[in-house]
């Protein structure tokens, strides 16, 4: 074809093909009407458009180069691709295995990875371990990893929480956004991950989505680690799992990765957020060039950036890791200071620098009155610079002003003092007012942050398996940071309240009923602090019932460990506690929090004052009544459910209770605990409780001889504990409680002659005997041998049966002196059967 002719056709045809079908012919006639031959050719071609589109819609490799919508991947069905990245394709997926309908984003990695993962089981193990760690990251600003799989011939993939949001930079374009505030939230998420020893390694704006609510969500946490484990086999390092534009020098060099790596990337992200400009574009540069540039890269100054912010950004992106902020929280703190107009750490001159600016502007004024300097320093203290730092700066400032005075001469200073002093007074007055307002706002901010910290230590963190120690760490760190503050008078009560609550919470975390830490010393220390703080608070306003309640609760919590029954049956110290609690109730009979506190008191009184069984039962029934009164308290529902379930559990165990009532209480306890687990599947505390209530219901059935009803209960109780022990191998509480339910499951199975179940019990018992801490004792091993004996007997293996039987009776002989046996029936049954076997 002649090239001019083709160019004409090509041009018009391309235009025509962009038009609706019915307009194309008219368009071509209009444009090419002057040349019959060309027009005919173009018309012929345009008529083929529909067929052509169909024919070429899927190339020969298309079917093989991508997953199709509707494909299944485990329980997930792919819906549509969400995008491609350097590391693979992300699909929107829907859960289709009958579970609650749920959407997720699935990241599929290049299949080249499946080779190494399939071939090397070590590598696969590490992949799965890492996945478990990541799955525990639960933070409102982090997209959760729901699952990950590799091997088995399919592409390695990560199933992540599906986040409906827009990419960070796009979001910033939508209007007026508090950029620093948003950035601080991002920092909060990264900080949380760091506290869990997880480094992101590939932070970039594309990995941060912002939801409609304005909440940022960080994606792909820690996936870089799985893919690029420096300790791991190099063959898994498919390609660099980070983007050059946001990578830190140590990443580019292939050096060691630390939290400073994320600090660096955050610096680049903040720069982009503030200026709308990507700090650098290196992704298509040659590696050698990048290596050279990374060593001298410094963020440029820009109009939108204040000197302070630039200093912060440069400190975050220092080439040497040692010169960066030591942690994300330090970076965040400085960014918050920029936002609040406070001096930043990144400029070491800090306050002094500001003072010298002020001094430069008002040399004489300042010289005239070194009081001014002191005042400003005072403001710095007021404005919550840490006490030590302010002290140092004040000293320097005073020294400086003295030098100034000397230099200028006191006489000259005095001469100029009159008029200038007046202005100074006005100036200082303004600073003081501003300072106070700012300080107030800052206290409010701080307290707000702290409040949410307490809440998250209580729920978001500590309810997770293994989260208690993280919760303690978070709270203690936060406490140490705010304890140095001097709140303004208006903020003081709030300040005290939060600290008091934090210490009470810490005491619970250290040694409470659901704690898996069991550190009584830590618990006592915090209880003491809490009491002192509540007392101070109460001193502010005695009419405040809630503070009164807090104080009473804190004192009682500290004392209750020591309170016991009294031989004479008298009330003893219980009398005064009862008096105090009833008094509080009298002051606020409708206060739900008070009702709950009183309920809790009666629960403890019933527990620790067990002289008369009837009294105990009455106390607990009373406790239930008060818990019900307090149950509708907004936000307190979960705690009340927990307390009520616990009380029902105890009531089910009260001696002398009619069997029917016992069963009723046990069933109610189980119902409440199931409700709690249903409300929040991640609540490890609720799951532990459920394990126990299912177990005690089984106990109630067993005592009545309903072995077949008890048997599955024990199994469920054991399996819940096993699940918790596997996901949290450091949970002392769970490890301690592994043996009981599985032993009883075995006992039930043996009595029911359910040999298949007994075989299962033996297997689980062997696992539990090894896993539990302390490890299984003689009695448990004896049971194990006894069961094995029974099973051998059933299999007509008389020799084996006798061997196991003898071993069991030998162990029981050793254990004979022990009085602690859950159920003497078991022991007797064992002995009898073993003797039978041995004969």
């Amino acid at each position: 074809m002649k090239s001019e002719t083709w160019r004409r056709i090509d041009d018009c045809l391309a235009d025509a093909l962009e038009l609706p079908v019915e307009e194309r012919r008219a368009f071509l006639r209009l444009r090419l009407g002057d040349d019959e031959a060309v027009l005919a050719e173009a018309l012929k071609l345009v008529g083929q458009a529909e067929g052509a589109e169909k024919l070429f819609s899927q190339g020969p490799m298309a079917g093989l180069s991508g997953l199709a919508a509707g494909s299944r991947l485990g329980p997930w069905e792919l819906v549509k691709p969400l995008g491609t990245g350097g590391m693979g394709v992300v699909w929107l997926a829907r859960r289709v295995d009958g579970q609650a309908s749920m959407m997720a984003a699935i990241k599929l990695l290049p299949p080249a990875l499946s080779g190494p993962l399939r071939g090397d089981s070590d590598l696969l193990q590490r992949f799965l371990m890492e996945k478990q760690i990541l799955a525990r990251l639960q933070h409102p600003n982090i997209a959760r990893l729901l699952d990950a799989s590799a091997g088995g011939g399919e592409s390695p993939n990560f199933v992540m929480e599906y986040v409906e949001g827009v990419p960070l930079m796009e979001y910033l374009g939508t209007g007026n956004v508090d950029r620093l505030g948003l950035f601080l939230k991002i920092c909060g998420a990264v900080e949380y991950a760091h506290a869990n020893l997880i480094i992101h390694r590939d932070l970039k704006p594309q990995n941060i989505l912002v939801e409609k609510s304005g909440e940022p969500k960080l994606l792909d946490f820690g996936i870089g680690k799985i893919l690029n484990d420096p300790a791991g086999d190099a063959s898994i390092t498919l390609q660099r799992a980070f983007s050059l534009d946001y990578a830190s020098p140590e990443q580019i060099r292939g050096g060691l990765i630390s939290t400073a790596t994320d600090v660096y990337s955050l610096g680049l992200i903040l720069f982009e957020m503030m200026t709308g400009e990507r700090a650098r574009r290196w992704h298509d540069k040659a590696l050698g060039e990048v290596l050279a540039e990374t060593e001298r890269f410094e963020l440029p100054a820009r109009d939108g950036l204040s000197a302070d912010l630039l200093a912060v950004l440069r400190k975050a992106t220092a080439v040497e890791e040692g010169r960066r902020y030591r942690s994300v929280s330090e970076l965040a703190r400085d960014v918050a200071r920029v936002r609040d107009g406070m001096p930043v750490e990144a400029r070491p001159a800090g306050l002094l620098y500001q003072l010298s600016c002020f001094a430069r502007r008002n040399v004489l004024t300042v010289a005239a009155s070194s009081v001014a300097l002191l005042l400003i320093c005072g403001l710095a203290v007021w404005g919550f610079v840490s006490a030590g730092q302010a002290e140092k700066e004040r000293a320097v400032a005073v020294e400086k002003s003295r030098q100034l005075e000397v230099a200028l001469g006191a006489e000259q200073a005095a001469r100029l003092a009159g008029k200038e002093q007046e202005e100074l007074a006005r100036h200082l007055g303004r600073i003081a007012r501003d300072g106070e307002a700012r300080a107030e706002a800052r206290v409010r901010d701080l307290l707000k942050v702290f409040d949410s910290l307490i809440a998250s230590a209580r729920w978001d963190v500590s309810r997770l398996p293994g989260g208690t120690s993280t919760g303690i760490k978070m709270l203690e760190k936060a406490l140490s940071q705010i304890e140095v503050l001097e709140p303004t008078p208006a903020a003081r009560a709030n300040f005290l309240l939060l600290r008091a609550e934090a210490h009470s919470e810490l005491a619970e975390l250290y040694g409470g009923a659901n704690s898996n830490v069991g550190n009584t010393e830590g618990a006592a220390r915090n209880q003491e602090k809490a009491v002192a703080l509540w007392k101070e608070l109460r001193g502010i306003d005695r009419k405040n019932v809630n503070w009164e309640r807090g104080w009473l609760d804190a004192r009682f919590r500290m004392a209750r460990g020591e309170l016991k029954a009294f031989a004479d049956g008298g009330l003893g110290p219980w009398k005064s506690w009862t008096f105090e609690y009833e008094g509080l109730l009298g002051r606020a009979p409708k206060n739900r929090l008070v009702a709950r506190s009183v309920g809790s008191f009666y629960f403890w009184r019933g527990l620790r004052w067990p002289v008369v069984v009837a009294q105990r039962r009455k106390d607990w029934e009373k406790a239930l009544t008060y818990f019900r009164l307090g149950a509708d308290e907004a936000g307190g529902g979960r705690f009340v459910l927990r307390d009520m379930a616990l009380t029902h559990k105890y009531l089910a165990g009260v001696a002398g209770m009619e069997p029917g009532q016992k069963l009723q209480h046990a069933t109610e306890a189980m119902r409440l605990d199931r409700l709690r687990v249903k409300q929040d599947e991640n609540d490890a505390g609720a799951r532990i409780d459920l394990a126990f209530s299912v177990g005690s219901l089984a106990d109630a059935h067993m005592v009545q001889g309903n072995y077949s009803t008890a048997q599955p209960g024990y199994l469920e109780s054991f399996l819940i504990r096993k699940g918790l022990a596997v996901s949290d191998p450091n949970n002392a509480f769970v490890l301690r409680s592994l043996l009981y339910p599985i032993r009883l499951y075995g006992v039930m199975s043996a009595r029911l002659k359910d040999w298949k179940a007994l075989g299962g019990a033996v297997k689980e018992m062997e696992w539990a005997a090894e896993t539990s801490r302390p490890k299984a004792g003689g009695l448990d091993i004896a049971s194990l041998n006894y069961w094995k004996g029974l099973l051998a007997l059933e299999a007509a293996d008389r020799v084996g049966a006798c061997r196991y039987g003898r071993e069991a009776s030998r162990l029981l002989e050793v254990e004979k002196g022990k009085t602690w046996i859950e159920n003497p029936l078991v022991l007797q049954g064992l002995l009898a059967a073993c003797e039978g076997l041995a004969r």
Binding site: Q48, G59, L64
Partner: protein, 189 residues
């Protein structure tokens, strides 16, 4: 293999000297061939778990091996797409030799398309397409290159645009015209 055509495609590739280009072409051809024949041999299309196109995959693989340090992704895509076509055509030739005799008319083409169409089942059509592309290359090499990338290498509009230094809109326009022209050419097969 027609190095001359490939060279024309890669004229802009300033950095690559002739020798390293040759070596790379050889390597890419070999690898693509290995990967493609694995895929083409398997008849089952139900187990589609490849997240990314073969060419993308190979790119990542070569980068992992450190063989693509200085060359950019776009140049690689140009070569690979061209080679992909060679591989598919030679595969089609082999298959065609095995199943002679089933010609294609205008009606049957539309008919086949109505009932679901798989290029891998139509070796003669791939050969005809290759011939048509050779003609297209004579007077519009850019379109031919786009067809290689979009159709044979299954690359996205965006990747294609980046590799050829064109805007996505331009690629879309070329691709639309190329399709109708090729379809027209295939009518007579």
């Amino acid at each position: 293999m027609d190095y001359a055509v490939a060279e024309r495609l890669l004229e802009e590739w300033g950095r690559g000297d002739r020798e390293s280009l040759d070596r790379l072409m050889g390597l890419v051809y070999h690898e693509l061939h290995r990967m493609a024949s694995g895929v083409l041999r398997s008849e089952s299309t139900t187990n589609r778990t490849r997240p990314t196109s073969l060419v993308n995959e190979l790119y990542l693989e070569l980068q992992r091996q450190g063989r693509l340090e200085t060359q950019g992704q776009k140049h690689f895509f140009s070569i690979a797409a061209f080679l992909m076509r060679q591989i598919l055509v030679s595969h089609a030739r082999k298959r065609n030799a095995q199943k002679r005799g089933s010609g294609f008319g205008v009606e049957s083409l539309s008919e086949v398309m109505e009932t679901g169409f798989d290029w891998r089942e139509q070796p003669e059509l791939i050969i005809a397409l290759n011939d048509a592309l050779a003609r297209l290359e004579e007077f519009d090499p850019v379109k031919a290159a786009i067809v290689d990338m979009r159709f044979f290498a299954d690359l996205s509009i965006e990747s294609t645009a980046e590799a050829l230094n064109l805007s996505p809109t331009t690629v879309k326009r070329h691709w639309a015209v190329a399709r109708v022209w090729l379809y027209e050419q295939l009518q007579g097969v």
